[in-house]
């Protein structure tokens, strides 16, 4: 039986809407905007970068028995972009169990895009040797447990690590050393410079009961008050959530591995198996633009149309 290639692609795109894909970020006039690759590609701006998250290489349960395959599909989409992004950010949980083979697969797949990869670790990446196995591979040139900053496209990027000392309630934490470094790092950056801050666990309180927040995240953000445009990118919760607070826009990315339930909608935050029959319903919920374009900083999340 012949299969219509268009149908196949549509099926794939639908799958990617729940399994997640890469986000492409463009910065125009100091305002970062996001969209999922494959929609109207923002070819109008000079500078763009890609965010992927939560690939959990090594996971093989019902929610997604082929996480390597779905990461590869997301990276294929990056490859297919007409206008090359400047680089790629991975916001953590690259691997499921911090195993060397899992890190190797990630390096190999991401390396094939020929894009520079900037990473921060998730709690699944620091399960071995107190995070050394992550740092040895991805922490070159970083400070402390793997935090760093760099400038690109007129934007000051800051990668933070909030998974090394999870708090009793499960919240992420940055710790004093990192907070001091951050305060110092932004001291000489002009207030008109757009800031993009990225870390694994959300820096804002998404859902305390599941530890979806960072205990000292507010303190970190207090150092960024002078800036006119601050964008915070996180992963960890395997779903898109957005919030704008003053000049700060928060955004969490989908996973490339498996979805997790919305806060409080399940007994636990475990991997969510999406039954084929309910996928369409699920996509309807995901298909929302959440942020008003009248806000000083607009982030528009546009899921694939399917």
């Amino acid at each position: 039986m012949d299969i219509d290639p268009n149908l196949q692609r549509r099926g794939f795109l639908k799958c990617m809407t729940w399994a997640g894909t890469a986000m492409v970020w463009t910065v125009a006039g100091g305002v970062p905007r996001s969209q999922i690759i494959g929609t109207a590609e923002a070819a109008t701006t000079d500078f763009s970068f890609v965010q992927i998250s939560d690939s959990h290489l090594g996971f093989d349960k019902a929610a997604n028995p082929d996480v390597t395959g779905t990461l590869r599909l997301a990276l294929d989409e990056v490859d297919a972009m007409k206008k090359k992004p400047a680089f790629m950010i991975h916001t953590g949980d690259i691997t499921h169990l911090s195993k060397p083979a899992q890190f190797d697969t990630a390096s190999q797949l991401c390396g094939a895009t020929k894009l520079t990869l900037h990473t921060v670790p998730g709690e699944h990446d620091v399960l071995e040797e107190d995070g050394k196995s992550y740092l040895n591979r991805f922490g070159k040139g970083s400070k402390g447990d793997g935090w760093y900053s760099f400038n690109a496209g007129g934007v000051h990027f800051i990668g933070l690590v909030n998974v090394m000392n999870l708090q009793a309630n499960g919240l992420g934490s940055l710790g004093n050393d990192q907070l001091e470094w951050l305060e110092d790092d932004v001291k000489n950056v002009t207030a008109s410079t757009p800031i993009v801050l990225f870390a694994h666990v959300p820096l804002w309180m998404v859902y305390k009961e599941w530890g979806w927040g960072t205990s000292d995240g507010a303190q970190a953000l207090s150092y960024l008050k002078k800036f006119g445009s601050v964008t915070v990118l996180n992963g960890h919760i395997h779903q898109v959530m957005q919030k704008v607070e003053g000049s700060v826009a928060f955004h969490t990315a989908r996973a490339t591995a498996f979805p997790q339930p919305a806060p409080g909608t399940a007994k636990s935050p475990g991997p969510m198996v999406v039954p084929a029959g309910e996928l369409k319903e699920y996509l309807g919920i995901a298909n929302v633009s959440l942020v008003s374009s009248k806000a000083p900083l607009a982030i528009v999340d546009t899921p694939l149309a399917g």
Partner: protein, 120 residues
């Protein structure tokens, strides 16, 4: 042998009676300090530990068995005891050689709480 051939109802009653007998025996040996303590198991599933609190005697080996589809670990801050991450079907065992009440969490998901009560 005759028990096997008896009607189901009676056999079940006998089994129950035996079970009661075994329970009684455990209770008796439990009071006896010389008695060897039985091992105990805590199941990890759906981001929770069960049973908790778990009450055991000094010298008991407690084994955690992860039946969840996400990795978990066991961290006792007061004992400075930390298990490696347990993937699905992974286990971790520890012998409790001192009496006390010990709280623990999952190192990956510290909102998961458990407690082991070790009696002298």
């Amino acid at each position: 042998m005759t028990e096997v051939s008896e009607p189901g109802g009676i056999a079940r009653r006998l089994l129950l009676r035996r079970a009661v007998g075994v329970t009684a025996l455990v209770l008796i040996t439990g009071r006896n300090d010389r008695a060897e303590a039985a091992d105990a198991q805590v199941v990890i599933d759906n981001f929770s530990f069960s049973p908790t609190p778990l009450t055991v005697k000094v010298g008991v080996t407690v084994t955690w068995a992860n039946q969840d589809d996400m990795p978990h670990s066991v961290v006792f801050p007061t004992l400075k005891l930390k298990s490696p991450p347990m993937d699905t079907d992974g286990t971790f065992s520890h012998v409790f050689d001192q009496a006390g009440t010990f709280d623990y969490v999952c190192g990956l998901h510290p909102f998961m709480h458990g407690q082991v009560v070790v009696q002298a």
